[in-house]
Assembly symmetry: C3
């Protein structure tokens, strides 16, 4: 499988995971189905959109591939329906959030590197992509963002970005590196 294909598959995994966290948060607040779709899409696609707007990179992914919007809405709605029959939702929520965080961070670093940005901006782009979606979700639910409460959260994103860039700098083969960083 090509690197581009791998990143695309991982991207879809990540937006589904993030949309599901949003649906779980929305479910706790008894939003209707439109609210669930909106919160899912903002959470899943917000990080990448903010990164691209800040870097002046157009068109945004969901403008070019509108099917991503359908995927996030579908994932959010499916989660709402399934959530009734599930327990331990808190653990599922945190696991999905971590998956989205790591994958998005790697993708964000990748985008900034492809634009030949300096190292600090690459790390920042990774953090923005990884963290902004969850922050938007929490702000829209009028919570203090998890990012600013949980010790590990932002740290994971920085470490992920750093490891990934270190691997790149050492010219490691890309696919195993991507998978290796995520496995940690």
């Amino acid at each position: 499988m090509e690197t581009a294909d791998l990143l695309k598959v991982l991207y879809i995994v990540a937006i589904v995971a993030e949309a599901m966290t949003a649906a779980l948060a929305a479910g706790r607040r008894e939003m209707d189905w439109v609210g669930v779709c909106l919160l899912g899409s903002v959470t899943a696609l917000g990080g990448g959109s903010v990164r691209d707007v800040l870097l002046g990179r157009h068109p945004l992914s969901w403008v070019q591939h509108p099917e991503y919007l359908l995927i996030t809405c579908g994932a959010a709605l499916a989660t709402i329906m399934v959530a009734r029959y599930m327990r331990h939702l808190r653990h599922v929520f945190l696991f999905l959030d971590a998956v989205g965080l790591v994958v998005f961070t790697v993708i964000g670093c990748n985008v900034a590197m492809s634009l030949d940005m300096p190292v600090v901006v690459v790390i920042a782009a990774g953090m923005i992509t990884g963290c902004v979606g969850g922050v938007l979700r929490d702000v829209l639910c009028a919570d203090v963002p998890l990012l600013f409460r949980a010790e590990l959260y932002g740290t994971v994103s920085i470490v992920t970005g750093g490891l990934y860039m270190a691997g790149k700098a050492l010219d490691l083969p890309h696919d195993p590196l991507t998978i290796g960083v995520m496995a940690l």
Copy 2:
């Protein structure tokens, strides 16, 4: 009257309506006059600005037509002064918000269609234009956005966008269609 003129008149009606909702929200929180102007402008012009930034469409409407900023500030201040003598403000607030929502949704769809965006993006652009202003207002007042609490709110925006696009697709004459969709 030309279609472009009609849309412009409706646009001004909508930004006035949204600025008024912001002033009513600000009045409940005893903000000073600068806060009222700011919240009014953000609420009225925020949806269109976010849409244009996401679609990479520059310059923004209020950069090109700075008089819109004066209109929203004026509408917000006038509302504050009048509000003391009014009752039933809750109903006025909801009515104005609904007017802004519907008009902005139609305008947002129109903008995205003029850029030849795919259907899903057109609907999304309509919802962003219609809903983001009110969401910003509520976030800045540290409320859970009305959008995520009220059953009908987001639904109205989707249905409006859908109806408008269906009419367009059937090649109905534009002006009666615009008015018809809004009348519902």
Copy 3:
């Protein structure tokens, strides 16, 4: 010293001041060090970034000069460490916030004028640059933004912008003007 140099020095003073206010706010909420860096950077660089995104001006300052990110992170972390030994933090916080507000407003007006924007947009750009960073800080801490609570805050920004532009229009020498407006 050249005008450009003066503005650059003032800019760095302002981002340091704003990052420090963020660190003080973060410290009250017991955030970890990554949260402190993030909140510091968003507060210090958020206003200028939003202004540049709205005006379609790329690349953003911190993309072009990534060292600004390091400065804001450093200032925020240093503040956290020093804060334990300080009293009267509330006064320090308000003083730093006022410095950032005035300097950023002047810089924002300057940027918009260099793009030949109309007067209303210049004032708006000054307010956006001055106020948005603090608003983001407060929203991320789930507070009602100070901007919408404190009587003087927004007013200071408008008056600063107005004075600065009036001076410019009268063709006063630039450097004394900049310093004079700030001294008030």
